[in-house]
């Protein structure tokens, strides 16, 4: 059971096609969409797909080991589950399912601040192994209270997202009038009705709401004003000065997520961050943003010794993960593939997706003749023009 793979869906693309039919349109669009013309989404894919690897066939080889040590814990695979907001909207209980399966498969699960589950509940399910993604609330008392809760719940790693300066301009969500919880418009209801499985599971699980932030929301505020309120109070701009008090308040490992610029990485090292995530927020914030692959290659050469470097945005397969690691990442995160998995296969989708990606990685490592994840850069085909 632990190695469950459903052979109908050997790739993330297969999962995506199935999930598209089983998740109501407005929710799927939120998961899938980028910003503006969605050029960034495409560029992310092109960036990672352009990476080439070269195998060494005749060298003695004694099998591969996919485990990676981070912050004193050895994870079984070189990838984790990236934070995605409103996960419960896309598939009921998604955070619970993914947190549990991440624990079981020994990979990190990063809980989003704007999740549909409370941080306390996920801490319980993940037995303290989940990471917490943090937006920097502009409201002082909310920030302090939230950090206190994260600490009390027993999260080990804090991931501060710094690339949400603005609320991404996402045409799909604007058209759909997306809100959390979803508005009961006739259009939304029709979309829900066309996904009976989602409908039943949602009834059993109940209305998706931002459980972690619920205590801070003004009661009875209409859903359309709520987004603006959240944007103003919770998702504050974070600069170096904003990071310092968080660094002071947080004793455990601190990860700064959403960097693409070398100078920002240097600043993160300055304030004492333990890791950075090279990322453009899955192409959801800046449509003209570059793929993180090329910056990753540069940054890892320059700062790889000083700080852990992770990467996300655009990864869809074991090949992509290997390409990212070969480009100098110590670890990778994927977001959408796991939700596709849930959409396609329900509860078992998380396990299936992890196992698939792991299996793909194994095949690549064996084919390359690469024994451990940190040796992957050795197999990178150099000087290939990117973008």
């Amino acid at each position: 059971m632990n190695n469950f793979i459903d052979n109908r869906y050997p790739t993330v693309n297969d999962l995506r096609a199935k999930a598209r039919k089983r998740i109501p349109r407005f929710a799927f669009d939120y998961l899938e969409g980028g910003c503006m013309d969605e050029l960034g989404l495409q560029r992310n894919r092109e960036g990672i797909e352009a990476v080439q690897l070269r195998s060494e066939l005749l060298k003695p080889y004694s099998g591969c080991n996919l485990s990676v040590e981070l912050f004193g814990h050895t994870y079984s695979s070189p990838f984790g589950i990236a934070p995605i907001g409103l996960q419960g909207l896309m598939w009921p209980n998604a955070p619970e399912i993914l947190a549990a399966v991440a624990l079981k498969k020994n990979i990190p699960y990063v809980l989003s601040t704007v999740s549909s589950s409370s941080l306390e509940r996920i801490a319980e399910i993940s037995e303290g192994n989940a990471w917490y993604q943090f937006y920097n609330p502009t409201d002082d008392s909310i920030r302090k209270d939230l950090l206190r809760r994260v600490d009390r719940a027993g999260y080990k790693v804090l991931v501060v997202t710094v690339d949400v300066q603005t609320f991404g301009y996402r045409p799909r969500d604007i058209k759909n009038g997306l809100s959390m919880p979803p508005k009961m418009t006739l259009r939304n209801i029709m979309q829900m009705l066309s996904c009976p499985r989602w409908l039943i599971e949602t009834a059993i699980a109940g209305k998706p709401e931002m459980q972690t932030l619920k205590p801070y929301m003004p009661k009875g505020m209409p859903v359309d004003q709520l987004a603006e309120f959240m944007n103003k109070t919770v998702m504050g701009r974070v600069d170096v000065e904003g990071l310092k008090p968080i660094r002071d308040a947080w004793q455990g490992p601190l990860v700064v997520k959403g960097l693409i610029n070398e100078s920002d990485v240097a600043a993160a090292i300055q304030i004492g961050a333990d890791a950075v995530v090279m990322s453009n927020h899955g192409g959801r914030q800046l449509d003209a943003g570059e793929s993180p692959v090329e910056p990753l290659q540069r940054v890892s050469k320059k700062y790889g010794e000083q700080i852990k470097i992770f990467m996300d945005s655009g990864l869809r397969s074991g090949t992509n993960i290997a390409a990212a690691l070969a480009s100098g990442a110590d670890f990778t995160f994927l977001g959408r593939p796991f939700v596709y998995g849930l959409g396609a296969l329900g509860k078992k989708g998380g396990l299936h997706t992890i196992n698939c990606l792991h299996k793909q990685m194994e095949q690549i490592m064996n084919q390359l003749g690469c024994e451990s994840v940190d040796q992957l850069p050795h197999f990178l085909v150099p000087n290939k023009p990117i973008n």
């Binding site: 008392s141 418009t185 209801i189 059993i204 109940g206 209305k207 619920k214 801070y216």
Partner: protein, 811 residues
């Protein structure tokens, strides 16, 4: 509350249902029977039609309300029905189809002859008008009025026109097909309501967590609403009548092509009976968990629909109600017309002469129209007559059952029953039942008994009496030539000759499912009981620390006067006289008693005290000094701030308390203990009541903190002596910053999630010098803690401080 989309949905439904009915009518062969639908009706239509006919709007709204008020218990009426449908399918149907008759009275005619036949015809016509047409239409009209805001007469007329239109033209075939359609609509609509309810509530887990365990029980021997023996005895009498012998239900069996079709149809109806508890009763329970505050549970259904259903779906729910009504009404109209035409017109008015099919059809249509006119006046009349009559009609259903149940159970299965026994037994028991029904409903007028037994018990007693009447009269009389034996059950089975094994197997499976459902719900109902039994001993062995939830409320007028109006939204702690007594316990409420109100308004946390104290220190008494401290009134660390009549509040905002013996507050924002006295104050000198520093006085930092809070206005208090000197009231408000520091540098704010804090409250009472207590105190009562240990942090109670209004939390 309705949007134009809703009106569109309703209009669409009405047009669709009439179109379907009229289409079926147009497809019929000319001269086809209005009453048996050409004997061509399929089993799915039969099953759905029985199900739909059974569920009227009043049932729908009433069982929803009953579920809201007391939970699953009402589901018994649904989940027990399969037994009687089994009886109908396997025992009665072979007779009905074997004898090949169109109406219930004609079966009785075969057995007992003409007199009994006439009697039963009249009885049947009356019950159809009373049960199916009159009551249903009136209640349906009322509901429709509430939703649409129409006049009652107009509502009734509208509903009747829709129901009559296709019933007149299409007869039973149209009724059965539209019923099937409406059954689907009802299931879909109510499933949507259940879905949205669960969705809003937060899912199944939350439902089970929030619903009292007793709501899940299906078998409750102690139920005050329906005694178990009443249900066990009375329900079968009603159910046999309703399911097995009532024309409106049974006519669907008569219309079946053959016995297997009929049996499959009835089985389908029984299987569909699994659904109502889940989609009609469960949403009532869900709504109770969402909003337990509705006083009249009959209003629950409408409240849920208008509160939670989105635009468009409200229209759908009204369509569901109309569907429930029309599927019942059209069946009643058609049955009335069937019995009238076949049992009264043909044999009596036309004196049994051969009548052409065309004429029968025409007469049937006219009678349907006539019945609908009758129903209209009946329903309108019910509105103008006192409500009492309506209640009478409702309970008459229970009193109509015993005569007919007796006639069928005894008459068909015991050969010794004579025509005279049947006729007189039936007539006498009808008379008896109607009069008992009349007296029981009008009990207040007549005052015959102190308490009437439950109506189901009465039903059973009446059933026993009518069986006795029938048996005794039969034994006393001789069989008449009019009567004849019906074939025995065995002969019937042989005649039908069909293979009954598969259908019996299906019934067996259904029985297993039912047992499983009962088991499941009993498990749910028993769960919490087990849980609380496990917890109780532990609770009893340790001192109970009190808890209080505090919410946001309106800002009170801060003047020292406390009235329950301005604190209606606060949390109230009562029974001060019964709190833990540090000194002499309070024996007389006038000596010391009162209430504390707690709330916050987003800016301040308020404590308001309304204290009864008949002897006020320094006002009714001398300002005597305690032996322990002649400088008690000095406003310094050497004084006794709490010496006098007054109150103390202790807050542990940090909510950290080690289990250490004797650990006290820190004297800063994280935890503190302060005083409001009736006769001295830091700000007002010796005569004025008000705030004073508290403990630990010996700690200079604490004293300084307290004093700075008072001087800066971070903490304010006003005290008022009641004009008749019977006590005092005081208001005390504190600013969270700097007095409620939940962790270093973080002060409580209403934006935070629920925050737990330590809290203790004391009310002191100093009268004449009482030498027996320390300091001469008479009383000092504490909300939490043990004697001499009440100021230890670990002995304080807990305050759950919520940022928002109480109404936001479903508490």
């Amino acid at each position: 509350m309705l949007h134009s989309v809703d009106y569109f949905v309703i209009a669409f439904y009405v047009v669709a249902i009439m179109a379907i009915g009229l289409y079926v009518a147009s497809k019929q062969k000319k001269g086809a029977s209005l009453f048996l639908g050409d004997k061509s009706v399929g089993f799915t239509s039969i099953g759905m039609s029985i199900w739909g006919t059974n569920i009227g709007p009043s049932f729908l709204v009433a069982s929803f309300g009953a579920a809201y008020g007391s939970g699953m218990l009402v589901a018994n009426f649904e989940w027990m029905a399969w037994i009687f449908l089994l009886l109908l399918a396997m025992v009665f149907s072979p007779y009905y189809l074997g004898l090949n008759v169109p109406t219930i009275p004609q079966i009785i005619k075969r057995r007992f002859g003409d007199t009994m036949y006439r009697l039963l015809t009249i009885y049947s016509l009356c019950t159809i008008v009373v049960v199916w047409l009159g009551g249903g239409l009136y209640v349906g009209g009322l509901l429709f009025t509430q939703f649409m805001g129409w006049d009652l007469t107009l509502s009734i007329l509208f509903l009747l026109v829709v129901a009559t239109s296709f019933t007149v033209v299409g007869g039973l075939a149209a009724v059965i097909v539209t019923d099937a359609f409406q059954t689907i609509l009802m299931i879909v609509g109510m499933a949507a309501l259940t879905f949205i309810g669960l969705y809003e509530l937060g899912g199944v887990e939350v439902l089970i967590e929030k619903t009292p365990a007793s709501y899940w029980t299906l078998i409750d021997p102690d139920s005050s609403a329906v005694p178990w023996y009443s249900f066990l005895l009375g329900f079968p009498v009603m159910a046999v009548w309703f399911w097995c012998t009532d024309q409106t239900i049974v006519q669907r069996v008569f219309a079946a092509k053959d016995l297997p079709t009929a049996q499959k149809g009835v089985f389908l109806a029984a299987a569909l009976k699994i659904l109502p508890p889940f989609i009609f009763i469960l949403p009532g329970i869900i709504f109770f968990s969402l909003n337990p505050g509705i006083e009249n549970s009959d209003q629950a259904f409408i409240a849920m629909v208008s509160e939670y259903m989105p635009i468009g779906f409200r229209g759908l729910m009204i369509a569901v109600l109309i569907a429930a009504l029309i599927s019942t009404l059209d069946s009643g109209l058609n049955s009335f017309s069937t019995i009238f035409t076949l049992d009264l017109y043909q044999p009596v008015i036309r004196k049994g002469k051969q009548v052409s099919n065309k004429e029968v059809r025409f007469v049937g249509q006219m009678v349907t129209l006539g019945a609908s006119v009758l129903a209209f006046f009946w329903a309108v009349a019910m509105d103008s007559v006192s409500a009492n009559l309506f209640e009478l009609l409702q309970s008459l259903i229970a009193f109509l059952a015993p005569p007919l149940s007796t006639l069928f159970l005894v008459g068909l299965f015991w050969r010794r029953v004579t025509a005279a026994g049947a006729t007189y037994g039936f007539s006498l028991s009808c008379l008896l039942c109607v009069s008992v029904g009349f007296f029981s409903v009008n009990e207040q007028t007549f005052g015959l008994f102190d308490t009437w037994p439950h109506f189901l018990t009465t039903t059973f007693i009446l059933f026993v009496i009518s069986v006795l009447l029938t048996v005794v009269i039969s034994l006393l009389t001789k069989p008449s030539p009019d009567e004849q034996w019906l074939p025995t059950f065995k002969q019937m089975s042989v005649q039908n000759g069909s293979n009954t094994k598969p259908i019996w197997l299906a019934w067996g499976v259904l029985a297993l499912i039912m047992a499983f459902l009962y088991g499941g719900f009993q498990y749910l109902a028993s769960r919490d009981v087990v849980l609380s039994q496990e917890v109780e001993p532990e609770l009893a062995s340790r001192p109970l620390k009190p808890q209080v939830s505090v919410y946001r409320g309106e800002s009170p007028v801060f003047d020292g006067w406390v009235n329950s109006d301005e604190y209606h939204d606060a949390t109230k702690l009562e029974g001060i006289d019964g709190w833990m007594a540090q000194f002499s316990p309070v024996k007389d409420k006038s000596d010391l008693s009162g209430e504390v109100y707690i709330k916050h308004d987003g800016e301040y946390l308020y404590f308001a005290f309304d204290i009864t104290d008949d002897l006020l220190y320094g006002i009714n008494t001398e300002r005597w000094l305690p032996e322990e401290n002649p400088r008690a009134h000095e406003l310094s660390r050497e004084g006794f701030p709490w010496f006098g009549d007054g109150v103390e509040v202790l807050i542990n905002a940090e909510n950290k308390a080690s289990m250490k013996e004797g650990e006290l507050n820190k004297g800063n924002g994280s935890s503190w203990q302060m005083v409001v006295s009736t006769h001295k104050s830091r700000l007002g000198g010796l005569q004025e009541g008000g705030l004073l520093e508290g403990e630990e006085r010996s700690l200079k930092s604490a004293w300084d903190n307290y004093q700075s809070w008072i001087l800066s206005g971070a903490m304010q208090a006003k005290v008022r002596i009641k004009p008749d000197f019977s006590g005092y009231s005081l208001e005390w408000r504190i600013k969270p910053d700097p007095t409620m520091e939940i962790s270093p540098g973080v002060f409580w704010s209403p934006k935070m999630s629920m925050t737990e804090m330590g809290l203790n409250i004391a009310v002191g009472d100093l009268d004449e010098p009482h030498k027996e207590n320390w300091g001469g105190f008479h009383h000092e009562n504490w909300w939490s803690g043990e004697r001499d240990k009440r100021t230890w942090l670990k002995h304080w109670g807990t305050m759950h401080l919520y940022g928002g209004y109480r109404s936001e939390y479903n508490h």
